[in-house]
């Protein structure tokens, strides 16, 4: 038995440990397939439940459906899955930034169920963030099962994300770009191949199970040079709407958190509000793919006035769904709001300049979607590739690039952090690889401390200290109390010169009379950034580290720089 075990161990080592690319490709494909399956499962179940509930939407009481869905969803998340709230993508980014992509196993299914309940009942949210969460957790847990290291685990998290997005939209390139641009934040050779393969695997799984799946039918768009100028205008408008959407989402969530209402009451209020809005404007309900399809194909029947209000209604409904207890993502709402914005823009253009020979309303809906995705996520490439892939609209690539780049740049100018990153930045947890903050956070204060220090007693007579100096090259001497061994202060060689030059003082002075007790100290609980800030403020090159009144060691800028360089090299190298 042990021989067989050893054989497989050796085989595994020879195959994978010398070069982990093959391992990452195989494990990444598995992650892509599994996350693809999760995405397909959510999509099919959502389609079924939306179809099942559709006949009931005409009744007056139907407004309670989203409330019931949100209630069940929040109850499931709070009491059964016991997940922390949130739509998931920031949690994945946080995990990648701070914990080497470690994610809980329960995250691989919990958001799928909760978002099914929310969106299936009519809540205004998208299924993409839950499948991203699920795919990432699948990748992370595959890495855990295989005992992979942090770097490899992060790659598999990216693979899971790419597989999930590729599967739900049948868009492998968008999946890959989203994983790298938004989740990992670094374009590294070692990441790209496994993630690309995982994305293709996810899309293929989706294609195999639902062969005729096309989210949005491709229609030929006649986009010409005349559309470039209006595209610029649309980009500005989508940037404004993106910023508004982000702010409303965040503010609504904050209000809900501040309220003293229990989670179930919040869910009922949020869901009922969405239900009531949905009775007058059904376009706000659920993920909204059907509305998008009709806008792209130019068959959207609402007039300018109603479409204009629908933009704000959808923003508000999404904020009430996600902020007040529902579960889901903002991807699909972005697409709906974007296409509505595009339609409004086109209709207004037609009102103002009726003879203007621009492209169809559907083309502007596409451009609006790109503008919103790029503006809200501040991920221009994801915006471009997603829209191109899901609509097959390669004819619109030039205006897509124009709208995407201007919208993401403008919204970045107004609101420097995207919706996904804002909360993490506020908490100081948005740490991209290779950045100063990330490197400092990855260095553990314990490994930076120099502990080989001779400590001196506070009752030591100065002559004895001078004798000690002759055999030591320390510049700092921690002073401790005899009985308790507690840290009392520090003797800095530079500060005792006047005593050292006066032999008459040698037998008259004790160390507790000349030690410096006001030196700022660090503790093991401090982050390295905090320690560096304290050093800068106090113009110190070294600082004592004291824990529970005991001297632990010294931390110096020289040592920090050494380890900083080592960490930087490690994070920016390909392996």
């Amino acid at each position: 038995m042990s021989k067989i075990k050893n054989f497989f161990k050796n085989l595994f080592r020879r195959l994978f440990q010398l070069d982990d690319r093959l391992l990452l490709i195989i494990a990444g494909s598995i992650a892509g397939i599994c996350s693809g399956l999760a995405a397909v499962a959510l999509r099919l179940s959502l389609e079924s439940v939306l179809e099942l509930l559709h006949p009931f939407r005409q009744y007056g009481w139907a407004f309670i459906l989203p409330a019931v869905g949100a209630l069940l969803s929040s109850f499931y998340l709070e009491k059964i899955a016991r997940e922390g709230a949130g739509h998931g993508v920031p949690e994945v980014i946080y995990s990648v930034s701070r914990h080497g992509g470690l994610l809980r196993f329960r995250s691989s299914y919990s958001r799928l169920i909760s978002s099914f309940l929310t969106i299936g009942s009519g809540g205004s949210a998208g299924p993409e963030a839950p499948v991203v969460m699920s795919g990432s957790a699948i990748g992370s847990n595959i890495a855990k099962f295989l005992g992979l290291n942090d770097r490899q685990r992060i790659t598999l998290v990216g693979c899971g994300t790419a597989g999930a997005i590729a599967s739900i939209f049948n868009a492998p390139i968008a999946g890959m770009v989203f994983a790298i641009e938004v989740i990992l934040g670094e374009w590294k050779f070692v990441n790209i191949i496994p993630i690309a393969i995982a994305a293709v695997a996810g899309a293929q799984v989706s294609h195999a199970i639902i062969p005729d799946q096309v989210i949005f039918n491709h229609l030929p768009f006649q986009v010409g040079g005349a559309d470039i100028l209006p595209s610029l205008g649309l980009a500005v408008v989508t940037a404004m709407v993106s910023v508004l959407f982000t702010k409303v989402l965040r503010q609504t969530g904050k209000i809900a958190k501040k309220s003293s209402l229990p989670f179930w009451a919040r869910a009922i209020i949020g869901g009922s509000t969405v239900g009531i809005i949905g009775m007058f404007m059904p376009v706000v309900l659920a993920e909204g793919y059907h509305s998008i399809q009709s806008m792209i194909s130019g068959t959207f029947s609402m007039g300018l006035f109603f479409v204009f209000f629908a933009v704000f209604a959808k923003i508000f409904a999404t904020a009430m769904t996600l902020g007040w207890g529902g579960s889901g993502g903002i991807f699909a709402p972005c697409l709906v709001i974007g296409s509505l914005t595009g339609v409004v823009f086109h209709k207004m253009l037609m009102v103002l300049v009726p003879s203007f020979g621009c492209a169809s309303e559907g083309a502007y809906a596409l451009l609006g979607m790109t503008g919103l995705v790029s503006g809200v996520m501040q991920a221009p490439l994801t915006g471009i590739f997603l829209i191109v892939e899901i609509t097959g609209g390669y004819e619109t690539i030039l205006p897509l690039i124009v709208v995407s780049s201007i919208s993401s740049t403008m919204s970045h100018y107004i609101e420097p952090a995207s919706f996904y990153f804002k909360e993490l930045i506020e908490r100081g947890q948005f740490l991209r690889p290779g950045t100063d903050a990330r490197i400092l956070s990855d260095l553990n204060i314990r490994e930076l401390i120099e502990t080989e220090f001779v400590k001196v007693s506070e009752n030591m007579v100065f002559r004895k200290f001078i004798e000690l100096l002759k055999t030591s090259d320390q510049n700092f001497f921690p002073v401790i109390e005899d009985g308790t061994q507690e840290y009392k202060g520090v003797i800095q060689i530079s500060a005792i010169r006047k005593f050292a030059l006066d032999p008459g003082m040698y037998d008259m002075v004790f160390l507790n009379q000349i030690m410096d007790t006001n030196v700022m100290t660090a503790s093991l609980e401090n982050d390295l950034q905090e320690v560096l800030d304290m050093m800068d403020i106090n113009h110190m090159d070294s600082m004592p580290v004291v824990e529970n009144n005991r001297f632990v060691g010294m931390i110096s800028k020289t040592r920090i720089l050494d380890l900083y360089r080592r960490e930087l090299i490690m994070q920016t190298s390909d392996h």
């Binding site: 016991r82 997940e83 922390g84 709230a85 949130g86 949690e91 946080y94 995990s95 701070r98 914990h99 470690l102 994610l103 809980r104 329960r106 855990k144 005992g147 958190k257 908490r427 947890q429 553990n444 314990r446 093991l524 982050d527 824990e547 529970n548 005991r550 632990v552």
Partner: protein, 275 residues
């Protein structure tokens, strides 16, 4: 020594008992207890290869207004300076990350299941996962505060058992209490175990700190457990095998803790102990 023990404070009479246990443990080995008073019913611990979410039962959130005061009173009673842990990072708004940079963690037998108050023969799945992944020893307390006056190490010869022996020696050194070693002769004879500790360089400290080594035949497992003094801290290594083996063969750790009510100090497979 500057060791720190993390205690998840439960503001109930049962929690008081376990907290007293932690305080006594720290006082005895000159470590510093740090109490965490949970504000939500769950938290996350990120280990090197796993993220363990601990779902606390509702008793951990009992009367939050008085929790800190009660904890401080107990600190004072034991003449220990109160120290409290505040999470710095949050994975989600209601999910704090608890640092794993501690030297010990005190756990009741189960943190997520109220039946642990009365049930003995069960170690909760979360406590098991923490033991499996932690780099520090886990103190599993007896249900009622019981000061321990000696240390008993269960030494079976494995890597974890060697860690447990080192830990036992370390605690004996810092506490001044006597150390007893108990070994069940399963596959090897006495000389094997004696040679093993010689090879590991532990023979000398064992000779200095330990009373005669107690060996038992395989069939005398229960007798060995009954011979352990009731007021002794039992130090043992978790065997670290998987759930299937546990179900088929049973877990020795559970067998031990269901028979004896002593405090247990458990070293997991990733735990490293230096003398």
């Amino acid at each position: 020594m500057n060791y720190k023990l993390l205690h998840i404070f439960r503001n109930t009479p049962f929690g008081r008992e376990t907290f007293l246990q932690s305080l006594y443990f720290c006082k005895t080995i000159n470590a510093f207890p740090v109490a965490y008073i949970p504000k939500s019913d769950k938290f996350l611990m990120y280990f090197s290869n796993d993220a363990v979410q601990v779902d606390l039962d509702h008793s951990y959130l009992t009367s939050p207004d008085t929790a800190k005061g009660h904890a401080e009173d107990l600190f004072k009673e034991m003449q220990i300076k109160p120290m409290f842990y505040e999470p710095k990072n949050y994975t989600a708004s209601t999910l704090p990350d608890i640092s794993t940079n501690f030297d010990y963690l005190c756990c009741p037998r189960s943190v997520s299941d109220l039946s642990s108050k009365i049930g003995l023969g069960h170690i909760g799945p979360k406590v098991r996962r923490i033991i499996k992944h932690s780099t520090f020893p886990i103190l599993i307390t007896s249900p009622v505060f019981k000061p321990w006056k000696s240390i008993s190490v269960f030494f079976g010869g494995s890597k974890n058992a060697l860690n447990a022996l080192k830990l036992g020696l370390k605690i004996a050194m810092s506490s001044g209490f006597a150390l007893k070693i108990y070994t069940l002769l399963e596959k090897q004879d006495e000389s094997y175990y004696k040679d093993l500790i010689k090879k590991e360089g532990l023979a000398e400290p064992v000779k200095q700190l330990s009373s005669p080594w107690h060996f038992y035949e395989k069939k005398d497992f229960n007798k060995m457990l009954y011979d352990v003094p009731h007021d002794s801290l039992i130090v043992l290594g978790a065997y670290g095998h998987g759930i299937i083996k546990d179900i088929l063969l049973g877990s020795k750790m559970e067998q031990i803790q269901s028979t004896v009510t002593n405090n247990l100090l458990i070293t997991g497979p990733y735990c490293s102990v230096e003398l």
